[in-house]
């Protein structure tokens, strides 16, 4: 890919950033490519050294705070027509609650996921506490000269421990997976904001 193609593709893909921010970044990448070429690389090699447009966009998305991207997106690019403003204002009792409701539903779904994980953790913890609790109780039975009862309680404790350990391991995996999913969702959301197709 040559320098101009790379930069113009990047410009299209960074349509979600403010014009000043976008042009400053493009100037920076242009300088980088020129410096690489001055260092003896061919134009293609110099462009390839920067990385693919996809990679660059993803990295910029990862490093830009979400709120800034949202603000940039919400800011109207050109002044709206009078009838659009009237319609937006008149419609606001309808679309505003709907927007809030949609957001609340998504947030609730996300929280429910965490709630499930939390309840599983609680179950694992209670099993573990039960298992540990069985130990002194069994000792007590043995000391009092009730070996049958002691064996039963010891067995029950082992069953509880046997349930608690895999459940706890599963919970840890689930927590890690959900945390990773959260990160990926956030990055996906940000990438969408940065990418905003030029046609919009």
């Amino acid at each position: 890919m040559d320098r101009e193609t790379f930069l113009s593709e990047l410009r299209d893909r960074l349509a979600g950033l403010s014009p000043e921010d976008r042009e400053e970044r493009l100037t920076f990448y242009r300088e980088m490519i020129d410096d690489r070429m001055e260092d003896g690389l061919s134009e293609t090699e110099a462009v390839a050294g920067i990385g693919s447009v996809d990679d660059v966009v993803a990295q910029i998305a990862a490093e830009t705070p979400l709120m800034r991207l949202v603000k940039e997106r919400v800011r109207p690019k050109k002044s709206r027509k009078a009838w659009e403003i009237v319609l937006l204002a008149l419609g606001s009792p309808v679309w505003f609650p709907l927007l809030i409701a949609a957001f609340a539903v998504l947030l609730a779904l996300y929280l429910v996921l965490w709630a499930v994980v939390l309840s599983l953790w609680a179950a694992a913890l209670s099993l573990a506490v039960g298992a540990v609790g069985c130990l002194p109780l069994a000792v007590l039975y043995f000391v009092r000269g009730l070996p049958a009862g002691g064996c039963f309680i010891l067995g029950a404790g082992l069953v509880l421990a046997g349930l608690a350990i895999p459940l706890g391991a599963g919970c840890a995996g689930l927590t890690k997976g959900l945390a990773r999913l959260t990160g990926r969702l956030l990055l996906g959301l940000k990438t969408r904001f940065v990418r905003k197709e030029a046609a919009v």
Binding site: T27, F28, E31, M32, D35, V56, Q59, E63
Partner: protein
């Protein structure tokens, strides 16, 4: 490594790359290459952050018929490096204590 900690490290690395004289983007990346593979996007973000914090200044100068941005360290930038070194001297003392505990006793 913790993201916050890494960010602080990278900031000081870039400051250190310009502490002996003005430098430009590609030169900074080349200077850091033996120690750290720094991408252009990351460098851009760091430079922007350091500029906003007043730790470096930027000027544009002509070079071979095109424009290039040069970065110079400021007084607060130099102070940040000194501060970082002092912090890490303490950290190293603690590290030696921790590492010593790992060795077998006796």
């Amino acid at each position: 490594m913790d993201a916050q900690l890494k960010r602080g490290f990278l900031d000081v690395c870039v400051l250190a790359a310009i502490q002996d004289g003005d430098s430009y983007g590609y030169q900074i990346i080349k200077d850091m290459k033996p120690y750290l593979e720094l991408s252009e996007s990351t460098l851009y973000t760091i430079l922007k952050r350091l500029e906003t914090a007043g730790l470096l200044t930027v000027r544009t100068a002509e070079h071979n018929g095109r424009l290039r941005k040069y970065y110079s360290i400021t007084g607060p930038g130099l102070a940040r490096i000194t501060e970082f070194k002092e912090e890490w001297r303490e950290m190293l003392t603690l590290y030696r204590f921790i590492a010593r505990e790992e060795e077998p006793r006796g």
